[in-house]
């Protein structure tokens, strides 16, 4: 049985994600840039995984598969980061607290390794939501 951890999830910008925004959203480049979760080394150790392992991120609002990577912005134990995009948006909180803004940052999430799992592309994620 693999272990899982609880994290506080935020989403935000990265340079790689920004580069993939114009004309590359159909491509693997976009999946590599934004279909990831940046974890603190300590949290990676708890999960007993390496960079590149597929993990399932689950919140009260949904779940999504992404690749775990070692955060370049560590240390931030207990805090996890998914670049802005359809992967992060599959699990963020839609409560808009009467101002029209969903909670893109600060969502409780569970992260569990699923080494055999598949990370869908941005377009595949849309097809899932069409069902």
């Amino acid at each position: 049985m693999s272990s899982s951890i609880q994290v506080n999830l935020i989403t935000g910008r990265t340079v790689q994600q920004g580069r993939a925004l114009e004309g590359s959203k159909h491509s693997d480049e976009y999946t590599r840039a934004a279909g990831i979760i940046e974890l603190d080394p300590e949290d990676m150790r708890k999960l007993k995984i390496y960079t590149g392992t597929v993990v399932k991120v689950t919140t009260a609002h949904g779940s999504v598969n992404v690749r775990a990577i070692l955060s370049p912005n560590a240390p931030h134990p207990g805090l996890a980061f998914i670049p802005m995009g359809p992967w992060g948006n599959a699990v963020i909180n839609t409560d808009i607290y009467s101002v029209g803004m969903p909670s893109f940052k600060g969502v409780e999430a569970t992260v569990e390794p699923i080494p055999e799992g598949k990370v869908l592309s941005a377009l595949e994620l849309m097809h899932e939501l069409q069902k």
Partner: protein, 438 residues
């Protein structure tokens, strides 16, 4: 390719982020971008994206049995106009990556079809707009900041990722008229829960606990008034808070640039409201200003142009024939999550990639018209594509920089095939709607 064929175009403005860097130079050959100078890596990718043709829409497209087939502009405009006219509550959303001229046309169309008009600020600096409407703010242009500022704070904003040249053009790592020694004369403070690249460069990194910015600002305001604060606030020791406040009080000219770390977390507009009040109070000691780091290159324009036209910057409902404003009710995500919208026109933005899943599930159920040059998550959901010329690369237009300075964007290459400027597409749509209404 011979030397003569390469043409250098100077003073090009980068149409990607709110910095609107206007010192870009582009080499063009055979109507293709071959080299860019001065633009950052993200801006460069945008200039090169116009060359890609395989994933670029160059003709109007209609989805038939799941596949896009090309149709004529006349048919596309008529279909789009009918979709919007037949809808009870059409949503017109996006607008922050296009020209002021197109933004103005968007208002006319929304009024004509009685729709809901919204722009990307509603998922970005919308809360900042609300707070500024409530309490105002002290502002300055980026030029003035560059000339004078000696204490620079990035709060909940990571310019190294989202505005790569911001620090080197306007704030920290640049010489200014009164800051001849550049960075040597300036202090950089970054407030961020992570050790971001900007934080790594900072003189002081305040590693606030995620989502606790409101508490930290409140503690700073209290300490400024001489009220005793707890030993630890939002993960920051009292000693560090007092030290930063001293630096802020002694600044010659200080600036707080803030981002999504404040607007997208719990508290939202209240966080901004509180931060603006901190800055207001610091102004009894010295000069401080506070400025949102606007993301899309013309998100400032969308708010500004609609404010001239309707009195409101975003989330405007024309259902009753006149504009009404109520964020939290007429924001794009509200009317999608609540299942109200029954058709959508998306322009110059990608809600498919940037809206929460629940909103997209509804978007997937209704007819979507996308004015979008490339294949994106949004176009996957669309039934009709109207292909635009890319503003600032393939067509001219005016945009507002994040500090409200209007800048004329240049044209560098011709748009491929049948692509038309956003402005023209929206104008034709409005005309068609008027015709059909007769």
């Amino acid at each position: 390719m011979t030397e003569e064929e390469v043409q250098k175009i100077t003073d090009v403005v980068c149409p990607f982020c709110g910095c609107l860097c206007d010192d870009v130079e582009i080499d063009v050959a055979n109507n293709k971008v071959v080299t860019t100078y001065n633009a950052c890596t993200i801006g460069t990718t945008k200039f090169f994206s116009v060359n890609e043709t395989e994933h670029r829409f160059t003709k109007p497209m209609l989805r038939k049995n799941g596949k896009f087939v090309p149709i004529s502009w006349d048919e596309a405009i008529e279909r789009a106009a009918k979709i919007l006219l037949n809808a009870e509550r059409p949503l017109l959303y996006g607008f922050s990556s296009t020209s002021n001229e197109a933004i103005g046309e968007g208002f006319k169309l929304a009024e004509e079809v009685g729709g809901v008009l919204d722009q990307t600020a509603s998922v970005c600096h919308g809360p900042s707009v609300l707070a500024i409407q409530d309490v105002g703010r002290s502002a300055a242009t980026l030029g003035e900041i560059r000339s004078r500022a000696n204490v620079i704070v990035y709060w909940g904003s990571n310019p190294s990722a989202a505005h790569p040249r911001h620090m080197s053009r306007y704030s920290m790592f640049v010489r200014g008229f009164f800051r001849e020694k550049g960075a040597k004369e300036r202090t950089l403070i970054v407030v961020d829960p992570r050790n971001t690249d900007a934080a790594k460069l900072a003189d002081i990194h305040i590693k606030v606990e995620q989502g606790k910015d409101y508490e930290l600002v409140s503690a700073m305001r209290a300490a400024l008034r001489g009220i005793e604060i707890p030993e630890m606030v939002a993960g920051i020791p009292k000693k560090d808070i007092l030290e930063v406040l001293e630096i802020m009080k002694k600044a010659y000219f200080g600036v707080v640039f803030f981002g999504m770390g404040l607007t997208q977390t719990f508290g939202r507009h209240r966080n901004i409201d509180n931060a603006i009040n901190l800055i207001r109070e610091l102004n009894s000691y010295t000069k401080w200003i506070i400025s949102p780091m606007r993301g899309h290159y013309n998100v400032t324009g969308a708010g500004t142009v609609w404010t001239w036209q309707t009195g409101y910057p975003m989330s405007i409902d024309f259902a009753r024939g006149y504009p009404r404003y109520n964020p939290g009710e007429y924001c794009a995500n509200d009317i999608l999550v609540n299942g109200e919208a029954d058709a959508a026109l998306i322009i110059a933005s990608d809600p498919g990639a940037h809206f929460p899943a629940k909103s997209i599930r509804h978007l997937a159920k209704i007819p979507v018209i996308a004015i979008e040059p490339h294949i994106t998550p949004t176009t996957e959901l669309a039934e009709l594509i109207l292909p635009p010329a890319i503003v600032g690369v393939e067509t001219e237009g005016t945009a507002y920089r994040m500090d409200h300075v209007p800048i004329r964007l240049r044209k560098v290459v011709d748009a491929p095939d049948e692509c038309l400027p956003d402005e023209v597409i929206l104008e034709r749509l409005t005309q068609k709607v008027r015709e059909l209404k007769k």
